[in-house]
Symmetry: C2
Subunit: 743 residues, 2 copies
């Protein structure tokens, strides 16, 4: 038996919602198994609640204080031995953040309220602290490498054998994607590659010629810097046009933005949509709303919330005015038609990378007010990315829905390292307070880029480090070689940023042996079209993309191919040499928690964790020359395949197998595999009794796990649940628990 | 003054319908002008009536006999000095042929009836004679070269300045093209390139193993031979599916075939559509219809025609059964909603190359039974070509209607020489009478290609001569060089024939200096998409295509760019060295004649003739070193530009300027240009008096030309009008006539 060394360690993240609950059941199993190979599994809490608590130590008692685990984990990514299993966490919108704060306060933590408008210095400090928790705050810290996402062969085989449902496409579908034809980020984008390192200034020059430095940026040599803006006037005109067209054509209207990831620009875009859709309401009550602190960027929920302080009669008047808008506006897609939650209620409810694949999978339709699915105009202001969805819609209209039983795969190699591209743009995004000029100026005074802007326009800059691009090109070549699959670099000749990247790609490709590889560079439309044409013929094509397209495509294609992106293998080979293994790119699934609370059934599928663990343990085995770890990984892969084959994944229905039952089967198959292998007899001997007891007690354990279902469950909190309660809820089978502890 | 030499001769064809009538007015003007340069303009009658008369000399009196002018003209194409102006002629369908026969018989010509079913030897001989007159019979004889079609700069400039109307496209349009996904010619296509010359046999092997030689073909070395078939069962299932889908989706159904050009295969395809749409009628009355000689390949008109012999009550019963079909079938597009003429009435009414551009120009809509335009499913069984229309529909849905004021141009270089490709397939197309094997066998017994076929399947073979391909590649390189425009060879890697062609293209391109040229090879979808993407950015792209795509694209793009294909310059640089100048690719326009008969107003626009004449006269001037001819051509080009600028093209409304008035203005401007030029004073002196008298008498002449409008006109026949009557109708201005004769 090997004794644990500091390198033989896997960090397993504790996050939020369903993945967190699932961990309560899975982690004890994993620990029981890995300890046999001397592999330690440590946890690291990066939940939104933990991050809030870590941000305000001065407000907490010593008992309540928690370390800044996210920062610690961030440092670990620079360690060549880092091995991190990263589960999905909440990318908190402001409403979600507020809910988490309220919950913590109710639990007795004296964390401050989120200040909607920060006036005092203290408020500003609080807001600044919270802004680091909002949106995609975890990934930029941890993702210190580029991205390698693909469907594991076992998962692909399963999807081909047991295909998920795909809505039939009508060739006469009216659905389409609509995007700005001018005035958006795409049309104004400028991009430069720095010759030398420099500290540049982002400046605003007002009408009075005063120069305001908005930000200074230290740039490396060969770093790419972009700037671009979206015209508020063009955006409003665009929304109005889309509404008019929907009204004329009798097509439902829907908005798809990414307010979580584009956490500064997209809530503003969302707010514009709210103001245009409910134009009469905001014209009539604008001043009152301002007094009340209504923020349309937070959706109509903000209106309903803030007017609660008004007298009943005035509330009703405003509600009537809101309803009057529906009379002359087109039908709007619903998030929850039963509860009357519209697309414009909360900015984080409809997230483009999840909502568009869902729409395309459902015959290009979304849910209407009457609970029926209907053709819809999918409004996505940024033309840069929206075009790929229109291309796919046209493709499905022409060729019918994709067929999971025959279609090929589109794995992704994504540029993500060193906060590449739009992930790093939050602190470089500004809403213009007046007309003027935004410019980027070198330290010697040279103006690198500039735009004439108007009040309300959204301007943003975005950085991409050369080393990240170089590593990305290398990863693309490696993946293309290892998987013997053609790869397409998605770089659009009409986009300023992509023209800069293309020069780098062409240069860095020369550093590799590309003989016999099929590597091409294409614009987005042609890239997705080519990939889809190959896909319906059963052929695979690696998409090599920037950061945003990485995010969008690793939902889009997996949802078509596998029915979910949660089954994708998502690896971040870190620049420093370590590895991060992400699980369940499909989000943290609030609906799942609701079902647990109501009927103690967790439908969360931990397949992503199984797959990530196998790769993580294997990598650890290779690095430490730990043969038992390698065997453990191999057995886990086989167990996962068996679990899929035997359909032991969680069901959505209460009373049937859920997440916990699925974990039991994993443990049983894993133990059986280890017991059956002959390469390491000690290992086999160690797991034989467990395999035997789990196999023999299958019926009993499943019965114990089923017995608890059907009644409400108490986990002591949503954002900050009680660990003991979670343990009790997630580990209800005494037979299973004692079998594991006997190991 | 040069005296006419045998080389100084232009052949001007006399054809049918509106172009023939227009010639009655234009030719005297042209002759008056060209005679000044010693250029003779001879006529050659290739109307369908003339071709019928030439086919049956033994039935006619000596007075009535006419020479076989088409054959004579065919021989002339082999003369390096040939210079032929070819006007549009009727590609007669069987109903049109029968009407022409009836008219000739009424005029006292004893030509035989067309035998629907030829039983006796005599009938077979008659049918064989007539089969040479049917469909596209003229072009294969005359087009002894490849095709060079483009928008003349003056015409393009005019379209940009005075854009034609374009229907707005809704992004939610339900319109689409639909085509077979299997079982059609595309999916079964096989193709071989002959190593050596050989005489091959097309054979049918029946169930009894008997071998029937359907045809022998002499093939040259390096000639490409294709074979393919369309499954009748798959075709019927396809039609049924499209009808069901339209019914479900509430979208109108329309059929677009090319029964004229694909004169053997497409009427059969059309017949299948008729039988499927009116399934119950044909199931119930099939036997009766057979007795009556109903042929669904001739459309529902054939049913209505044949049942006239039945008792009134039985006619009504059948008509009721037909109407009952409309109850459960989707709405069908109408050719004439007022008269109740449906899409399935006559196979030649809806011709894909004209109907699809018209639909795309009209917001993707066609006329419904209620006289309103509606979204429609455009059914085009052959997937080979239908895909380009779907690609354009998707493009317009996404990007809106094309904008004639800014769009670029897509000129065409078409493979057409030596009856290349599908034009030559009529005598190699067979409808299977029983199940068996169709095969192509070399003289040594080697089977080159074979297909398992079933009763009713349509099998065809198609030839492409190597010399034609070689000349086509040369023409593409020449045009790309001369116009400094990128050229795309439309060759689909998934099509067997195109793969053979591609090998040749790659080889023959090496024979030319292509340095600095942008020449690419793409599949159809990518070719049209790339061309459209360039087009909306104002860029031109030469399409280098096979024969069918030549035919389709030279309507499709011109109708978007110029509102009509009649304004295209259409040149056939013949292999032997001569030139043919085609005018008005837009067809012969039966509606125009109807208007002349009803209100003596001819809306036909002779612009195509003006443009062709200018190129024809210029070419003659160059070949004969005839400076005056060159000046005449130059002046004609300028006059045409002026005519367009001053909007002196024919109006569609009675009482306004018509074809004759437009000719007057051409004559006036042409004379003015010649009088004003200073390069040849003799020529100037000769035309000065004419310029003066036409300019001074403009009002009077226009008044004389207008005076005759508004009443019916008599031209003594439709297919075979009376020349004297046509002359009287088309030349009503005494003042103009005497001014011309004074020249």
């Amino acid at each position: 038996m090997t004794t644990p060394t500091p390198n033989q360690k896997i960090i397993y993240t504790l996050t939020d919602e369903a993945p967190y609950l699932a961990t309560g059941s899975l982690l004890p199993i994993v620990r029981a198994f890995t300890s046999a190979a001397g592999v330690e599994v440590e946890t690291s809490d990066i939940s939104v609640a933990a991050r809030i608590l870590a941000a305000f130590p001065e407000k907490l008692t010593d008992d309540q204080k928690v370390p800044d685990t996210l920062a610690e984990l961030g440092e670990l990514t620079l360690d060549p031995n880092a091995n991190i299993i990263k589960l999905p966490n909440i990318s908190a919108s402001i409403p979600q953040l507020k809910a988490a704060i309220a919950e913590l306060q109710a639990q007795g933590y004296d964390v401050p309220n989120y200040p909607d408008e920060a006036v005092t210095e203290e408020e500003k400090a609080i807001q600044a602290n919270y802004s680091k928790i909002l949106g995609s705050a975890v990934n930029p810290v941890l993702r210190q490498g580029n991205s390698d996402r693909r469907a594991p062969p076992a998962v692909k085989a399963f999807a081909r054998k047991f295909p998920h449902s795909m809505g039939k496409w009508s060739k006469a579908s009216r659905s389409h994607a609509d995007y700005m034809r001018g005035g958006d980020f795409f049309s104004s984008e400028q991009s430069v590659t720095m010759t030398d390192a420099d500290e540049v200034r982002i400046e605003f020059v007002g009408q009075n010629s005063n120069v305001e430095v908005k930000k200074s940026l230290k740039l490396e040599a060969a770093e790419v810097l972009d700037s671009m803006f979206m015209s508020a006037k063009a955006l409003d005109a665009f929304f109005e046009r889309t509404l008019q067209e929907c009204k004329e054509d009798g097509v439902m209207w829907s908005l798809h933005v990414k307010a979580t990831m584009m956490k500064v620009s997209h809530p503003i875009v969302f707010g514009h949509a709210v103001r245009v859709f409910y134009r009469e309401v905001f014209e009539k009550y604008g001043e009152l709303f301002e007094q009340l602190g209504v923020n349309p960027n937070n959706g109509m929920a903000s209106v309903y919330d803030k007017i609660k302080t008004l007298p009943q009669s005035q509330q009703e008047e405003i509600e009537e005015a809101i309803h009057a808008c529906y009379e002359h506006r087109p039908e709007m897609a619903m998030v929850d038609s039963v509860k009357g939650i519209t697309n414009l209620h909360i900015p984080s409810d409809v997230i483009v990378d999840a909502s568009m694949p869902a729409m395309i999978r459902s015959s290009g339709q979304m849910w209407g007010r009457d609970g029926k699915i209907k053709d819809t105009k999918a409004v996505m202001p940024e033309s840069t990315y929206a075009r790929i969805y229109q291309e796919m819609i046209n493709f499905c209209r022409t060729n019918g829905a994709f067929d999971p039983t025959t279609m090929g795969s589109v794995p992704n190699v994504g540029l993500m390292a060193m906060k590449a591209e739009e992930y790093g743009s939050h602190d470089k995004t500004f809403e213009m307070k007046e007309d003027g000029v935004m410019r980027v100026v070198k330290s010697d005074g040279t103006v690198l880029m500039q735009h004439n802007v108007e009040k309300g326009d959204i301007w943003r800059a975005c950085q991409t480090k050369d080393a990240a691009v170089r590593d990305w090109v290398k990863l693309a070549v490696t993946r293309s070689r290892q998987s013997d699959t053609p790869a397409i670099f998605w770089l659009d000749a009409e986009r300023a940023h992509d023209r800069q990247l293309r020069l780098k790609v062409e240069e860095y490709l020369k550093e590799h042996d590309t003989a016999g590889l099929d590597l091409r560079i294409m614009g987005y439309n042609r890239a997705i079209r080519t990939s889809m044409e190959r896909m319906i013929r059963g052929k695979d094509t690696i998409s090599v993309t920037g950061n945003v397209l990485r995010d969008y495509l690793t939902d889009l294609f997996p949802i078509m191919e596998l029915g979910t992106s949660a089954k994708m293998l998502s690896i971040v080979p870190m620049l420093a040499g370590g590895g991060m293994y992400e699980t369940g790119a499909g989000g943290s699934a609030p609906k799942h928690v609701q079902q647990v609370l109501e009927e103690n059934h967790l439908r969360w599928d931990s397949l992503g964790e199984f797959l990530a663990l196998a790769v993580s343990i294997e990598e650890l085995g290779i690095k430490n020359d730990n043969a038992q770890a390698k065997l453990l990984a191999k057995a886990l892969d086989a167990a996962t395949g068996k679990l899929l084959e035997n359909n032991k994944s969680p069901s959505r229905k209460v009373g049937e197998l859920d997440n916990r039952g699925s974990h039991f089967y994993l443990a049983m198959y894993w133990a059986q595999e280890l017991a059956a292998q002959t390469e390491d007899t000690a290992l086999s001997a160690r797991f034989a009794p467990l395999a035997k007891s789990l196999t023999e007690n299958e019926e009993k354990i499943i019965a114990e796990l089923s017995a608890v279902q059907g009644q409400p469950a108490d986990i002591g909190g949503y954002y900050h649940p009680d660990m003991a309660k979670v343990d009790a809820v997630m580990r209800p089978s005494e037979t299973l628990n004692s079998a594991l502890s006997s190991l």
